[in-house]
């Protein structure tokens, strides 16, 4: 269903240039938000001492996630190949239900709207939404 055209890729790359300076902050906020707004996602982090917004494990993991998304931007021309290892990690080790990728993507979009209100136009929104859906699909490749 998701096809990333040349225009979509250009929009994503251009926008990501503005995101990368705030990437860790955005990642932390998106993850914090997801754990509060969609509490069922906390089940994947039962091993953390502190799941509250802005806590140390949330900060660290938010940064890890955004680094992964940033990496996906650089591999945008072949996400399936580029995200192979991450897909295996999520499929065999973490075993995250892929429905949750959509939930996290939504929270990333909310944070982008907050942090970059004038840049996150409807055109950018659709390109990023398609990109995150493509990333989610690539991450789901190895599941079955």
């Amino acid at each position: 269903m998701t096809y990333l055209g040349a225009k979509d890729k250009d929009t994503v790359k251009a926008f990501w240039g503005k995101v990368s300076a705030k990437a860790e902050d955005i990642g932390q906020d998106a993850l914090s938000r997801m754990l509060v707004v969609y509490p069922q996602t906390k089940t994947y982090f039962a091993h953390w001492q502190d799941l509250s917004p802005g806590s140390a494990p949330v900060k660290k993991h938010g940064a890890t996630i955004m680094a992964g998304v940033g990496d996906a931007v650089s591999k945008i021309d072949d996400l399936t190949a580029g995200l192979l290892n991450l897909s295996e990690l999520h499929a065999f080790t973490l075993r995250v239900d892929p429905a949750n990728f959509k939930i996290l993507a939504h929270n990333i979009l909310v944070v982008l709207a907050i942090r970059l209100p004038s840049d996150f136009t409807p055109e950018v929104h659709v390109a990023i939404d398609k990109f995150l859906a493509a990333v989610a699909r690539a991450l789901s490749e190895k599941y079955r």
């Binding site: 509060v36 909310v110 209100p117 409807p122 055109e123």
Partner: protein, 147 residues
């Protein structure tokens, strides 16, 4: 029956007092038609929806955005009985407009994103959670009369 905490009631009231209601409905509808273009199927009479710029400046989109906003404000004023307050709207959407109810969530997500953009840092995770709960109740109420 939906239970609202004091925090949730106060938060929802506060959000509606702070957002620019003239803009939110239209911006959210405009975003929905742009990000999820299949939703345009319900707006065949709206004229030019060919690209994001056309959608954003379309006067029928703007006008309809205000109608949607009015309905959200009505829900916010009837927190304890949104289901009944929305009976006629639900019948309208299912029998006359024949909208696939999965689309309600798409519009709700766009409303969240527009409100987040307007409130900025004030849209904390806790405020965000209260608002999404409110929208989930609105969406469920709109689905209620479908059969």
């Amino acid at each position: 029956m939906v239970k609202w905490t004091d925090f949730e009631r106060a938060t929802i009231k506060d959000i509606f007092s702070k957002i620019d209601s003239g803009v939110v409905g239209s911006a959210a509808l405009s975003r929905c038609l742009t990000v999820y273009p299949w939703t345009q199927r319900y707006f065949g009479k709206f004229g030019n929806l060919f690209n994001a710029a056309a959608i954003a400046s379309n006067p029928k989109v703007k006008a309809h955005g205000k109608v949607i906003m009015g309905a959200l404000e009505m829900a916010a004023k009837n927190l304890d009985d949104i289901k009944n307050a929305y009976t006629q709207l639900s019948i309208l959407h299912s029998e006359k407009l024949q909208v696939d109810p999965d689309n309600f969530k798409l519009l709700a997500d766009c409303v969240t994103i527009v409100v987040a953009g307007q409130l900025g840092k004030a849209f904390t995770p806790e405020v965000h959670a209260a608002f999404e709960k409110f929208l989930a109740v609105v969406v469920a109420s709109l689905r209620k009369q479908y059969y």
